[in-house]
Structures are given as structure tokens and as C-alpha cells.
Point group: C2
DNA sequence: GTTTGCAGACCAACTGGTCGGTCTCTTTAT
DNA sequence: ATAAAGAGACCGACCAGTTGGTCTGCAAAC
């Protein structure tokens, strides 16, 4: 930690502080003190506190987007792809809890210079889900009348919301959660024929 | 507007300002200027800017909770109840857009004095959904192995997320959205037998 | 006359950001 | 090989602006 580049140390420290206290309750002074640097050091690496927030956002959303595309390319059918994307997203929430929290809690405070960039990438992710859903409808795996845009927003919301309640040491492991969520999603979109080929929630009893 | 009680005017004004610029980007000076009062007037009705935020939160969550229980009592089967609760929640998002936005964007900035109260009421709403789901599983309308807690969080997230993208003058009316979402939810939770009794998404073609 | 509802000048604290300067390491000239 | 020169990383005292909140005053209501 001590000999990591200062820039990284600032990001890591502010990640922790922002997650705990919120962006607006953490001052630059606090950040630099906490990671043993100075105002000068901070403003040498970031042009403003706002740019730091942007950097955090961008690093995170870029990573998520990559993972999404990777999951898409790794599989060949819409059903498998949807499951893979959903699962990878849920697991990511566990790995990047602070980033996720800050991303969703503070993104509306991004200055207008940085905002469009982030929104664009977020939309790309949404479009990926829509694409998978549409391909699934076309090849008959998903329900023929599925309203794909709405379904995509529905799924996106459900999965995103996890960060609001997920606790790493809670009752359910992230793996279990991701399995359940994937099942719920598939139950929702699969066509009647494909639906009967699957058995859902087999691995646990009602709680 | 002019002759409404000052307290209400302050709330309405700050609702508008908070939604547009965010809680932290709106100063008390701005609020009092915008609704034609003064610092004295403001602090006569609210002990702090924080209490104003709490008041907004509490008014809103109390209303939502009431609506949820009303929807529950109005119907008799889990399926109808779940549909009614979901629909009423979605429609509420349209009616109370500023309140919803502020609630979800700023609730983590509530001071610790007020926070527990809000969390308690939010949990009550979550418990209501869990209750309906559990009753549905017990009477056989919903899937026997449905993980009710997870399903509740899933539904809660999906529906809540709407405020992030919904535009009153967008492509879909709030009525259409609420119908689609209710269908998606029921497809997800219904038992195989009950599922086949319904036709879903009948009212529109794939988009 | 006393309480209530509001006005607005005022303040202490804190904030993000600046700026001149130092220290270290690399490059170049001799 | 060594000295000179330059560049990049970092320091920390300082500043101007803004913020939430207070306080005295005053006019109307009871």
C-alpha cells in the first residue's frame, strides 16, 4: 500500500471514504490526510474533486461493460448468454461494492462535462441486454410477445438494486443470489415451450 | 400558491429544486429566495435543512406504505394483490416523481437521527411484498419452490428503478408500463398451472 | 401585552482550489 | 565522470467564496 503510486492510493482511499460517508461529506483535506499526502499531491493528479469522482465512475463502468461483452461472446444461445450476463453482473456487485455504491449514489452529482460519457457507456450496457432479449425472441427461446425494452429495464433495475441491500456476510452468498436471480429472469422471459424444459429453484427450499 | 401556508410552499419549492439540482447543490438561501420568504421564515418551520429532507422523505414513504396496504386489502387472492400493489406503485412513480427521485437519490444523506425511522417504514413495505408472495406459495398460486425473500427484493428493485429512466412524456404511458411490469412479475412467480391460464403481453407487439 | 410568524443582516466554519517552492531523478553538455 | 539543467512529483500555507445557522427586530393576531 505504502509504495503504490499516489494516484491509486488516492482512489482507494476516497473509495472507502465516499462509500462510508458519501461524496459530499468527505472533503479533499480528509482524503489527503487519510492517505498521507497533501493538497498539492492531490491536485497534481486530479484537476478537481469532480474529476476524481468521474475517474471512479469511468473505471468502474468500463470494467462492467467489458465483462458484459465477454459474457456475451463466451456463449452461443440467448438463454445461456442472458444467464451469463446476469450472473457476472451480480457477482461483480460483490467484488466492487464501493465502486457500485458510489456509482449509483453519486452519479447525478457528476458535473455536466463528464456526465455524457458515463451515460453513453451505461446505455451501451442496456443495449447489450436488449440485443440478447431480441435475439432470444427471434429464435423462439423467449416469449414471442415479450416487450424487450421494458423487460430489459426491468431486469436492469432488479439486478442493480442488489447493491442497496447486499451484505457480503449475509444469509445468502453472492453465488446463490446470482443463481436465484438468473432463474427468476429466465422464468420471466422464456417461451412456454422452453420454460417447461427447465426446473427452477431446485437447489433450495422456500424460505 | 401565494396564500398556501409557508411550510407547504417551502416543501414544494425545495422539491422542485432538489429534483433538478440535487440536495447538496441547493442552498437554503436559494430555497427561501425562490419561494419568496426569508431565512427566518425557513428556520421558523424547520430546525435544519436536514429536517426538511427528512420531512420530504417521511411524507412520501408514509403515503406509499398506505397505498400498499390499501391495495392489499382491496383484493382477495395473492395474484390479484400482487398485481394491484405493483401497479399502484408504478403509477405512484408518475404522480410523485420529484419525491421519488429525492427519496432514492438523497436518503443516504439523511442524518443518523432520522435514518432509522425511514428505514423502518421502507422495510414494512418490503415485508408486505414478502407476505403476499408467501401467501401465494402457500395457496398454490405461485411456484412452490419460489425463494420469496429474493423474489421480493427482485421485484422491489425492478419497480423502484423505474424512476431512473421514466419520462412522463416518453414513448410509454405509465399505465402501459404498469401493465407490462405486472405481467412480467406474474410470469416470474406464478406456478406452472396458473401460468397457463393467463395470456401475457396480449395488448402489444414486440418492440 | 404577549405570543406567533416572518424579515434580513450577520457570522463562524469550512470548502475546493491556488501557488510558490522543494526534492529527486533523468538527460545533456563538457 | 561530472556538473548543469530541466522535468515531474509532491508539499502546505494561504485564499476567496459559500454554507448552514443565529439573532435582533418588527408587525400583526389574539
Amino acid at each position: 500500500m505504502r509504495n503504490k503510486p499516489l494516484r491509486e492510493r488516492i482512489i482507494e482511499t476516497s473509495l472507502r471514504l465516499f462509500e462510508t460517508y458519501g461524496y459530499h461529506n468527505v472533503s479533499v483535506d480528509q482524503i489527503v490526510k487519510e492517505c498521507g499526502t497533501s493538497k498539492g499531491g492531490f491536485y497534481h493528479h486530479f484537476s478537481s474533486k469532480d474529476e476524481l469522482l468521474y475517474t471512479i465512475h469511468d473505471q468502474f463502468i468500463t470494467y462492467v461493460l467489458e465483462k458484459g461483452h465477454a459474457a456475451y461472446n463466451e456463449w452461443n444461445t440467448p438463454t445461456e448468454r442472458l444467464r451469463a450476463i446476469a450472473k457476472s453482473f451480480v457477482v461483480m456487485i460483490d467484488l466492487y461494492k464501493p465502486e457500485v455504491t458510489i456509482f449509483y449514489q453519486e452519479s447525478h452529482y457528476l458535473s455536466s462535462d463528464y456526465f455524457p460519457n458515463i451515460v453513453a457507456k451505461r446505455d451501451q450496457y442496456k443495449d447489450l441486454i436488449i440485443k440478447v432479449l431480441r435475439e432470444g425472441v427471434e429464435c423462439g427461446e423467449f416469449h414471442p410477445q415479450l416487450p424487450v425494452t421494458m423487460a430489459a429495464m426491468f431486469i436492469f433495475g432488479a439486478v442493480n438494486w442488489i447493491y442497496k441491500w447486499y451484505k457480503p456476510d449475509g444469509k445468502y452468498t453472492i453465488e446463490t443470489i446470482s443463481d436465484i436471480y438468473a432463474d427468476l429472469i429466465l422464468r420471466m422471459v422464456l417461451s412456454p415451450e422452453c420454460l417447461s424444459n427447465y426446473s427452477f429453484f431446485g437447489f433450495l427450499e422456500t424460505d
